[in-house]
């Protein structure tokens, strides 16, 4: 039985129950105490997100300063449980408009109870789509959508929409100005050895959309991915245009995308939900353009001195620039004094994370920047342990650049009324876990 949860608890960091909801009777009421004593107050916390205590399994995750704990006693479907929690939190966020934390829960606990009641029944997840729930659970909750309507009118039932072919979109939407915003957000993960070899590198990308379109539009998105282009040239029986094509390792789509059509024609066609949503996710491992190269040299001079030299090179187009570049260079715990010289930006020693933090607000393409530092260490007696050098970590954002080289070729909007739409496309590449060993 793919039961996702028998009970769900929201706890703050001290273990106080903020909200709890029991769905099935197979778990006792004192389960949360067990969680507190055996997981929260021990080293277990953060050791493993699934634990069994006395016949019950606790599946938990921390989101901001709240622990969300699912309790089950049967052999439940864990992946479903975690996904449920994530989706539920997304739903709450869309209701509160912003942060999900202890205060938000305290301020909205009646609403959360209402939602918890709707999104799961007897352990089986029901409908978690904010678009539909918002039709009949309103933040004020002052009136039922049904009672306010005149009686003779057929009741527009929110739940009926689930059955329709397009469950994620309401009918009869209308905007004065029809606009579509498309964001391609990529995060680059890199692991580079101290010798400069790329050990592991991949890009996970998301296509985020914001739609303000009237009626029931049909959208078609064309990307420069290899499969799609090949299929297209095959269908139109003309040779593919030269230019860079991207090989996507794997793609997943929002439920609105017609997957059958994607598999047969390799085109992404869909009727979008209203407002903001994540259209697709992809992963690429081949042919990644790394935006930055980092060349570190760290010399340990005796027991009390160190010399650190880090050169960062931007290898994207000269007209582009990166924003919010942060380079975290780890130093030993017993660092006493640091002296820096940087060619751009600012550096600081942060003893709480044992790092030199070097920030560069704007980093133009095809340039390089260096930091050289001298570090004095407190000499420790009998300390034999050599320092385990953690990797240098980097954060950045490069607008108008995609590490994968992915480009939007077209975005077609078709609606029966034939209105004109304005399409906006943005690209941005961020650092995922960008690690360079030294």
């Amino acid at each position: 039985m793919p039961v996702a949860a028998s009970a769900i608890y929201f706890l703050n960091l001290r273990g106080d129950v903020l909200i709890n909801r029991t769905y099935r009777d197979d778990v006792g009421g004192n389960m949360v105490d067990a969680f507190r004593t055996h997981i929260m107050q021990t080293k277990e916390l953060g050791n493993c997100p699934v634990r069994q205590i006395g016949g019950c399994s606790f599946v938990y995750m921390r989101i901001s300063n709240v622990y969300i704990v699912i309790v089950v006693s049967s052999n439940a479907n864990v992946a479903c449980g975690f996904k449920f929690v994530v989706e539920a939190v997304a739903l709450f966020k869309s209701y509160f408009g912003g942060a999900f934390d202890e205060d938000a829960i305290r301020n909205n606990f009646v609403l959360i109870y209402e939602l918890l009641d709707e999104i799961m029944d007897f352990g089986y997840p029901q409908n978690l789509s904010p678009e539909i729930l918002k039709l009949y659970i309103t933040q004020e909750g002052v009136r039922s959508p049904f009672s306010s309507k005149p009686k003779d009118k057929p009741v527009p039932n929110a739940t009926l929409q689930v059955t329709g072919a397009v469950g994620w979109r309401r009918e009869g939407l209308s905007y004065k100005k029809n606009e579509v915003f498309l964001d391609i957000v990529e995060s680059v993960n890199l692991l580079m050895s101290s010798k400069g070899n790329v050990l592991r590198c991949d890009v996970t990308g998301k296509v985020l959309m914001k739609c303000f379109l009237s009626g029931m539009p049909d959208l078609k998105l064309g990307l420069n991915d290899k499969l799609g282009l090949e299929k297209e040239s095959e269908m139109k029986s003309r040779p593919a245009k030269s230019g860079k094509t991207i090989e996507l390792d794997d793609v997943t789509f929002h439920q609105c995308v017609n997957l059958t059509r994607f598999n047969s024609e390799k085109t992404v066609s869909f009727v979008p939900p209203d407002g903001e949503f994540e259209l697709m996710k992809y992963r690429i491992t081949e042919g990644v353009n790394l935006p930055f190269r980092v060349l570190p040299t760290i010399k340990e001079l005796g027991r009390t001195r160190m010399e650190v030299n880090v050169k960062v090179k931007s290898v994207f187009g000269a007209k582009m620039f990166a924003l919010g570049v942060v380079v975290k260079i780890p130093v030993p715990k017993q660092t006493a004094k640091t002296n820096f010289q940087v060619t751009s930006g600012r550096a600081k020693y942060n003893p709480s994370i044992d790092c030199l933090v070097w920030k560069i607000r704007k980093f133009p393409g095809q340039t390089e920047s260096t930091l050289s530092a001298e570090i004095e260490l407190i000499s420790t007696m009998g300390e034999k342990k050599s320092w385990t050098r953690p990797p240098i970590q980097m954060e950045f954002q490069v607008p108008m650049f995609t590490a994968s080289g992915l480009r939007v070729r077209f975005l077609k909007v078709w609606e029966k009324s034939g209105y004109n739409t304005v399409e906006w496309v943005r690209y941005i590449t961020k650092a995922g876990s960008y690690e360079i060993r030294c």
Binding site: D16, G54, V78, R143, F146, L160, G167
Partner: protein
């Protein structure tokens, strides 16, 4: 809440305040957050202000309670909660005042009070005493009020069955409300009361709910039927709700209704199946081809969660031919691209299970699902990745070669939580082969320098495991030896243990290793395991290490400082081995060691020392043959999990079993849960957290885990030695000659006579394991006659099962005819009954069935209880017998086996 508040202000007619608020609201909303915070602060201020002005007015008190109430609890130290008695009494009187009132605005005051009640309920204050008042206040058209009231009632009805009768009335009335929303909510609450003697009131509303023209109400009614079944199965069956659900499932236009029907029917029928053949047939019919295709063809109409449900159903479907398999796979192919990881994983399970019998396609499936799974791992929170990684881990271990080229995906990131890193390390170990070992080991060596000591240790162990898997260990040995040069205690400790294991398997490397190991000072090693490893090597390679006797002597002189029994045991053995190789240098040390060992308080140490002493006294050459025979390389270390258990976990893909790496019966059956059961005491200990109380259960758990390991090992043994196994228990017959030998060996000693009879059992077992000489045929047990009309009620069975120890556990193969006949549990139950073995409970689905049988000895009220787990894919049956009379349990097992072997025979 601000809106609500507004209303109060106007009823109070406090103009200055009102203005204040409206100015705030009128402010240009450029910076929303600052306004919000403004609003909040001003509200606090205002509230205080009002309460000062209009004391003694109940509405104003209510207004104050509109402050987010749980915030009040943050004053209290965690996790103890206030009793809140005075607050509850206060609430009670306020509610009472409002109950009859029809004044405008009364709903809002009620709402605030209700909020307060709910918030108290949440933080654990018992507010059940206001039950009556809550019910009285529930006459309202305000939907939020109703919802809060339903929540409250649902929470407390179970504990107050008498009071819940009060609610029936208003809930039943609401079930007929014109607003479908209210109808649905009321029906849900009505079914959630969970009071057994109120079920009769459920039937009417449920029946009409199922026929409601609004799908929202129908979805709720369907789940309501399932809830009713759990409260009172017979009522639910008698009202023929399952049949109604079935027709709804096939004909309803709403996907969610259909999905809930499916969930409810699956649950009801699998629970019913154990005692009703009809339910069993119905359960089977859910897996019929037309129904499966009906669902799979419509799968896109369902939401993501319902899709999981359908996919889970499809897993159990037995396809008729390969075309069938390919049809389903083509239908579901695109589900692998779904954004919801749960759907992807469920699809993966369908693909894997469908193709189990087609090796080539199965392998292609692995290739196909690889990339979606890897994507899921890299997206989402660490907890989600962990869940997916656990599944990937299972697949990687099953088919390492398919993932061999993807090893880079399993490299750890610096900031990943350790539970993710651990899994990744295990996977790297599993997929290491000739082509990627170098890269993987290089990477693992990086982790050995990790800040997180636990991960560093794990990675060293991983390197060691790879070394033990590979034929070409040359380079890895160098790496291991480099670890020893890192001069970190824990690295050295782990490495020593590994070098020891490596030498046991590849003695040819001794030369390189010993020279390095010899240079390690034993003073730097504190961990017992590592010390034991070092001492083992000193003993084993005493002839190659010049100062081995002196190091040992040194260690033996500090015998008292050595607290671990493991180390002392190893010291004794090492001293013996060393003595046989370099007698003059070791003699003195050995003497000291034996003396200290015999005087040791630890039983094992004492016994071993005494044994060595006597063997030496008897004949030194015999002693050498016993203690230090020529070295034998270990060809393979025992696997901790049998392949059968692994298969069972694989069958339970996409569930907790995969995360725990245990089959589900271990952690869901009550008897397997071990000594640590939940009790109320736990609640009390939780209030006063003590360090000791935290540690003890954890240890118990560890012990429990070890227990599990032991039992699986045992099963392994059983498989190999099913013929010998029985003999171990009837040892007294043929072990007498061995024990007499023992007595010869043991020259004389105070404890000798007491221990020999005890140890003869172990000895016999040991010999049975070590040598393949089959012991004399087991004397055939007297034939056991069973009572054909035995009776035992389930409760008595449960009680006995808990009390009695397992007297026998065995594994048989079931003949193919039997497997073929075992399509439903009932067939076997009938068959066994004809052999006077009765079934008390059964369950499971193909391929795993589980039965509990009992039988009674004829003419005597002695019961035999048996748990029988049959896996139809591996054609194995595992039985555990518990008997009132231990001595005849073997005889019973024989009867059982004979009966089982006849199953399926014409």
């Amino acid at each position: 809440i601000v809106g609500v508040f507004f209303f109060h202000l106007s009823t109070h007619e406090t103009p200055p305040v009102n203005q204040n608020i409206s100015t705030i609201l009128a402010a240009p909303s450029s910076d929303l957050s600052s306004i919000l915070s403004d609003r909040v602060t001003s509200r606090w201020f205002l509230l205080r202000w009002i309460s000062r002005r209009t004391n003694s007015n109940h509405i104003s008190t209510a207004t104050i309670s509109a402050m987010p109430p749980p915030a009040a609890s943050s004053r209290y130290p965690s996790p103890s909660q206030p009793s809140g008695k005075s607050e509850v009494t206060d609430l009670k009187s306020q509610l009472r005042q409002l109950a009859g009132s029809r004044a405008p605005g009364v709903d809002d005051s009620k709402r605030d009070l209700f909020k307060k009640v709910i918030s108290y309920m949440t933080i654990g204050i018992d507010v059940s005493s206001v039950f009556g008042e809550m019910v009285m206040c529930s006459a309202t058209s305000d939907i939020v009020l109703k919802k809060m009231c339903y929540l409250y009632v649902g929470n407390y009805a179970k504990g107050n069955p008498d009071l819940s009768l009060l609610t029936i009335n208003f809930l039943q009335r609401d079930c007929k409300d014109e607003d479908p929303m209210i109808r649905g909510l009321a029906l849900r609450s009505l079914c959630s009361l969970r009071v057994p003697n109120l079920v009769e009131y459920l039937l009417g509303p449920l029946g009409s709910g199922l026929k409601d023209n609004n799908s929202y109400v129908r979805t709720i009614a369907v789940t309501g039927v399932l809830k009713l079944y759990h409260i009172s199965a017979s009522t639910c069956i008698d009202a023929e709700f399952p049949a109604t659900l079935k027709s709804l499932m096939l004909h309803d236009s709403d996907a969610q209704v259909v999905a809930n029907c499916l969930a409810a029917l699956q649950e009801i029928w699998s629970l019913e199946a154990s005692h009703s053949e009809e339910a069993c047939r119905e359960k089977e019919s859910l897996l019929s081809k037309p129904l499966i295709y009906y669902f799979l063809n419509r799968i896109k109409e369902f939401n993501e969660w319902a899709q999981c449900l359908i996919l889970e159903l499809a897993v159990k479907y037995v396809p008729s031919d390969s075309n069938d398999i390919f049809d389903i796979m083509n239908l579901l192919e695109d589900r692998l691209q779904h954004a919801n990881g749960a759907v992807v994983l469920a699809t993966v399970k369908v693909f894997l299970q469908l193709t189990l019998s087609m090796t080539d396609v199965h392998q292609q499936v692995y290739e196909r699902i690889k990339s979606p799974l890897l994507t899921l791992v890299s997206s989402g929170s660490p907890e989600q990745s962990y869940a997916i990684l656990s599944h990937l881990h299972l697949l990687v271990v099953r088919a390492p070669f398919i993932f061999a080229s993807d090893y880079k995906h399993f490299y750890c990131q610096y900031n990943e939580p350790s539970y993710v890193k651990k899994l990744k390390l295990e996977m790297l170990t599993a997929i290491a082969n000739e082509s990627n070992t170098y890269e993987i080991v290089t990477e693992l060596c990086e982790y050995a320098a990790n800040v997180d000591i636990e991960i560093a240790r794990e990675s060293i162990r991983a390197v060691g495991k790879i070394a033990l898997q590979q034929y070409d260990v040359n380079a890895i040995v160098d790496r291991l030896l480099q670890f020893l040069e890192m001069e970190k205690d824990y690295v050295t400790a782990e490495t020593l243990v590994l070098v020891k294991d490596l030498l046991r398997k590849h003695p040819q490397w001794s030369h390189d290793c010993i020279s390095v190991v010899g240079g390690i000072s034993s003073k730097n090693i504190q961990e017992p395991k590592a010390k034991a490893a070092l001492i083992w090597m000193l003993g084993e390679y005493a002839q190659d290490m010049s100062d081995a006797p002196y190091i040992l002597e040194n260690l033996i002189e500090n015998w008292e400082e050595e607290h671990s029994a493991e180390v002392r045991l190893h010291l004794l053995t090492a001293a013996m081995k060393c003595f046989f190789k370099r007698a003059p240098e070791t003699q003195k040390a050995l003497g000291i060691a034996l003396a200290a060992g015999i005087a040791d308080f630890h039983q094992d140490v004492h016994d071993r020392a005494l044994f060595y002493y006597r063997v030496l006294q008897y004949d030194v050459h015999v002693a050498e043959r016993v203690v230090s025979p020529p070295q034998q390389a270990v060809s393979a270390f025992a696997d901790t999990q049998s392949s059968e258990i692994k298969d069972r976990i694989f069958d339970e893909f996409n569930s907790l079993s995969v995360i725990y790496q245990k089959p589900s019966y271990i952690f869901t059956d009550k008897e397997h849960r071990g000594p640590f059961e939940f009790s109320d005491e736990l609640g009390s200990t939780s209030i006063t957290p003590e360090v000791s109380s935290d540690i003890v259960p954890a240890q118990q758990f560890e012990a429990n885990d070890k227990d599990l390991l032991l039992s699986t090992d045992e099963k392994d043994d059983n498989k190999g030695l099913s013929s010998n196994n029985g003999s171990a228990y009837t040892a007294p017959y043929e072990s007498s000659n061995i024990s007499s030998q023992m007595q010869e060996l043991a020259i004389s000693g105070p404890a000798a006579s007491a221990t020999t009879t005890q140890s003869s059992f172990d000895f016999d077992d040991l010999l049975g394991l070590g040598l393949s000489t089959a012991p004399a045929p087991t004397p055939s047990p007297p034939l056991l006659k069973l009572n054909a009309r035995a009776a035992l009620d389930p409760r008595a069975f449960q009680q006995k099962w808990r009390q009695l120890p397992i007297s026998l556990s065995q594994e048989y193969s079931v003949n193919p005819q039997g497997i073929a006949a075992l399509t439903v549990p009932q067939s076997l139950i009938k068959h066994m009954q004809s052999h006077s073995i009765h079934c008390i409970a059964s369950g499971g689905q193909s391929p795993n069935f589980k039965f509990f049988f009992f039988a009674q000895k004829e003419a005597e009220p002695l019961d035999y209880l048996t748990e029988c787990i049959i896996n139809s894919s591996s054609a194995k049956a595992q039985i555990k017998v518990k008997a009132d009379e231990q001595s005849t349990s073997q005889a019973f097992a024989t009867v059982f086996e004979t009966a089982l072997s006849k199953f399926g025979m014409p």
